[in-house]
Symmetry: C2
Subunit: 292 residues, 2 copies
Amino acid sequence: MDHRVTFPQVIGHESSAVIEDLGEGVASWKLGDRVTVRPLDPCGQCPACRRGYGHVCQKLKFIGIDAPGAMQALWTVPAHTLHRLPDALSLQDAALVEPIAVACHDVRLGEVQRGEFAVVIGGGPIGALVALVAQHKGARVIVTEINPFRIALLRKIGLEVYDPRETDVAAMVTAETSEAEADVVFEVSSSPQGAELMTKLPGVRGRVVMVAVFPKPVPVDLHKFFWREMRLIGTRVYEPVDFDEAIDLLATTKVPFRSLITDVYSLDGLEKGLLQMEQGADVMKILVDCAA
Amino acid sequence: MDHRVTFPQVIGHESSAVIEDLGEGVASWKLGDRVTVRPLDPCGQCPACRRGYGHVCQKLKFIGIDAPGAMQALWTVPAHTLHRLPDALSLQDAALVEPIAVACHDVRLGEVQRGEFAVVIGGGPIGALVALVAQHKGARVIVTEINPFRIALLRKIGLEVYDPRETDVAAMVTAETSEAEADVVFEVSSSPQGAELMTKLPGVRGRVVMVAVFPKPVPVDLHKFFWREMRLIGTRVYEPVDFDEAIDLLATTKVPFRSLITDVYSLDGLEKGLLQMEQGADVMKILVDCAA
């Protein structure tokens, strides 16, 4: 996304907040309401918008990338982006709604059913959330990940994680499913290795959900899609229903989303947090408290 | 498919015939019945068969490749492979049922709707049949093809054909659809160029139907699947309903399937016909009359 951000710019698109002021004509909200922001501002006019897919609007303004974002004490956003937080949900937890909504969208478009066998390739924050949501839907979930810190953290919260350099994941899936193979595979690693593994795992009519952002074309075994009548399902961001589901899952279930938070910094700690992520330090999800 | 054929072997899996003899216990057919053969013999036991996808059985015996095929005067097949031909359909025309059933399967799994914009990449026999079936469903269909003989033949039967070396197909589709882009793209060329073009054409939630057999992995722009929430749909052979539809389309419509037949040889001409196809001669579909 880097090339879309012009400097100086405030970035940030995962947030929770309290309403401090209201624009003219905004009737359905009041000062003090606790909210999270679905940071999408579609044009409303393009073919995608006209078909009801405003979340992938052909001229989408992604707030926090294409417009000023959440990492500031006061943030002005369109009222249509707001979702109300239930009382049971803390502001800190609610900062996780946006990435959980991504996972809800991926799992929904991947049509994960109770009893299915799912593999998540890549156990970073989004992969971990996809795994937790798919597991909550009743699927058996396997995660592949190579980072030792992530592997340990995900195992600690009850996920079944394998390092694909140590385990022959394809052979394991074949054995564990009595040769039926995986029902659904989520590619979240953005790696050529992931793009190779993703076609080896699904069975007949299995689905591969493309969550990752691949910066350039990579070799893909198209023959497998033909041979097993597999499907590749592209997924991007979320629709309003996914935000609602994410809020509901956070507020009403025991799914251990919060365990992915490894640090909470004040706005002063932002640079430190960004450097930690860039350097691949022992972090999963870092929150930044932007309150003035 | 070559490595699956052991010599000596009779090949051939597109056929029409008259029943000459019946096995014990076959009650629903009688001598003289005119039939076509759906040449799939599934195991009935594997996970794919148990899920109702016997056509992509994990141990599928494809009759004519894995077992003796149609290019002989007398051919023994399991009774479950037969479809009855209506009186209105000649044996010669009925030899086209099998490839038309492939096209019906591809178009059905591609969920082509009336009024949609479809692109077929590759105008060989299967691409041409996909285009004709999709057009019959009410889609506007564009075919891309580089062979001059095929281009001329397909234009003669009313298809809109472009040579992608002469026409910027992506720009043309963008303009013709007012930036909505294609609803569905069929990749039937098995070429790296086709794999590149297929991701450039669909719009948001557009579908790419993978009909082609790619012998090895090729670069694919996975980012496009993410960005536009596109889907890739693998399709292979056909199900019984596709055979029924193919028979019906041949017998009751004016779709010019027959115009794809460029030669009809006796069994003596088989080698000549195979050489013509191998050498890329001016042929589309060659029929072989195997009657004794």
